[in-house]
């Protein structure tokens, strides 16, 4: 009986090939259902790793290491590459020769932007910073959809 159960468990586990993926956005949102309407369970940071258990349309069901809950993230927020948050010399070498690694904070980063700004002081970033702060909540979007008599269907909704 125990053996049968073990075989059954391993069969269901392999029905979908689990994948390790990384959060590739600054603020990743995990929801209770595969939809932007789903309740927000938690938020993850750039570079956090998750195990993808299943896929439904453009959504991935994820398991978060250390958290006893499953949730859904839109797949565009995830990367199959491992994101190294504090890369060392061997990571840099590996990144140059592999397609499976991303180095966080390398290449064009805050330091490069600051250097660019010091060389081009006439270019004003004030409004870029301001527009990034404009926040729209999911409730506002839902009200907007309802009040405008819109009817989202399919796609990522």
């Amino acid at each position: 009986m125990v053996t049968l159960l073990a075989v059954f468990c391993s069969l269901t586990a392999f029905a979908f090939e689990q994948k390790l993926m990384s959060v590739q956005v600054k603020h990743g949102t995990v929801r209770s259902t595969p939809s932007f309407l789903g309740k927000v369970i938690t938020r993850l940071n750039y570079g956090d790793q998750v195990v993808v258990k299943a896929q439904k349309d453009s959504w991935s069901q994820i398991d978060m290491p250390g958290v006893y809950a499953m949730g859904w993230m839109h797949t565009s927020a995830l990367s199959s590459k491992r994101i190294v948050l504090k890369p060392g010399a061997s990571d840099a070498e590996q990144a140059a020769s592999s397609d499976e690694l991303t180095l966080a904070g390398r290449g064009f980063n805050q330091q490069v932007e600051d250097d660019f700004k010091s060389k081009n002081p006439e270019i004003d970033f004030t409004w870029v910073d301001r527009m990034e702060k404009i926040a729209v909540t999911q409730d506002q979007i839902q009200n907007f959809i309802m009040e405008g008599a819109l009817s989202p269907k399919g796609g990522s909704q």
Binding site: Q24, V25, K26, H27, F36, Y46, S58, H74, S76, A77, S79, P87, G88, A89, D91, A92, E93, Q94, A95, A96, S97, S98, L103, A104, G105, R106, G107, F108, N109, Q110, Q111, V112, E113, D115, F116, K119, N120, E122, I123, D124, F125, W127, V128, M131, E132, I134, V136, Q140, I141, F144, I145, E147, G148, A149, L150, S151, P152, G155, S156, Q157
Partner: protein, 311 residues
């Protein structure tokens, strides 16, 4: 556009090498070989004042070719911020809180129905204070529309079509594809050698020059030369798809283009220069879309008028 801001834009544009007037920032990698090709022959590149033979990079493992697809969302975000700042040199912001909030709620609603609802820094929208008919999408999701293009919209379905077209450019990473391929290779090569430590001195200067070059490539495409016709048609197709998914009449795009067709002035530096003629875009869209009159419900029309009636 104010004269002073135009003057500043011209100054900045010339400095960054727009229009081919000034030579673009010096490229460090000689020629346009990919890292793969260089590794095989052991091409010598100069970084940080040192000449390094790339064959040494490939000693332990085979280097892989890098393209715009290897630009990480984090790097795309920083590229987008600076492109956005450049776009704001051309036209100043239109500081109307209600109108900008409306554009942001509408834009975010549309972005959630796109193929790429999540980007590193998210989608943000801003109206620019100009009569010219223009709109821009910086990589990563900073989207700009002028008062001029909003005046071509007689209903919310049309405004949605403009924003969804720009979201299409973001989702297909059209901006990043404007970057000269050798610059991407340079950035990645610098990473390979200097990735282990914080950039300092000459290495930072190399990377910043490559950054400036990339910004120049994208901005000159967005602001001066325009994308290829096929990219524009692709963005129109994305717009139609997004509009349908959210529940708008996709013919909002056709209505907007018909008004744009009447209002575009020959010789301008806006859509008349950077986009295919509205009539050509309509013809392309109507290969897959039958026209039906756009008749938004009165509540939708009322909020559109409230937000953008005086734009």
């Amino acid at each position: 556009m104010k004269i002073s801001s135009r003057r500043n834009f011209i100054k900045v544009a010339a400095k960054l090498g727009f229009w081919g007037l000034a030579a673009g920032p010096a490229l460090i990698v000689k020629g346009c070989k990919t890292l793969d090709e260089m590794s095989e022959s052991g091409t010598t590149i100069g970084i940080g004042g040192f000449n390094i033979n790339t064959a040494s990079i490939a000693k332990s493992a085979k280097a892989v070719s890098k393209s715009f697809e290897d630009i990480t969302p984090e790097q795309e975000y920083y590229i987008g911020r600076t492109v956005g700042a450049l776009v704001l040199e051309k036209y100043k912001p239109y500081e109307n809180r209600m109108a900008n909030l409306y554009i942001n709620v509408l834009g975010k609603t549309l972005a959630q129905a796109s193929e790429m609802p999540e980007t590193y820094g998210g989608y943000h929208f801003l109206i620019q204070d100009s009569d010219e008919i223009n709109a821009f999408a910086a990589p990563g999701g900073l989207i700009f529309v002028t008062r001029g293009i909003l005046r071509c919209c007689q209903h919310e379905d049309a405004v949605a079509s403009v924003l969804a077209h720009e979201i299409g450019h973001v989702q297909y990473k059209h901006g990043l594809q404007a970057i000269n391929k050798s610059r991407v290779t340079t950035a990645v090569t610098t990473l390979a050698i200097e990735g282990a430590k914080t950039f300092g001195g000459d290495d930072l200067a190399t990377l910043t020059r490559t950054f400036e070059g990339s910004i120049s490539d994208i901005s000159s495409t967005l602001i001066v030369n325009g994308y290829s016709r096929s990219f524009e048609y692709q963005a129109d197709l994305a717009s139609v798809t997004i509009l349908k998914r959210v529940g708008y009449n996709p013919n909002g795009l056709v209505d907007m283009l018909n008004i744009m067709n009447i209002r575009l002035q020959p010789g301008g530096s806006d859509f008349v220069k950077t986009h295919p003629a509205p009539s050509s875009r309509i013809a392309e869209i109507q290969k897959n879309l039958v026209y039906s009159k756009v008749e938004p419900p009165s509540v939708r029309q009322a909020r559109f008028k409230r937000a953008l009636g005086r734009v």
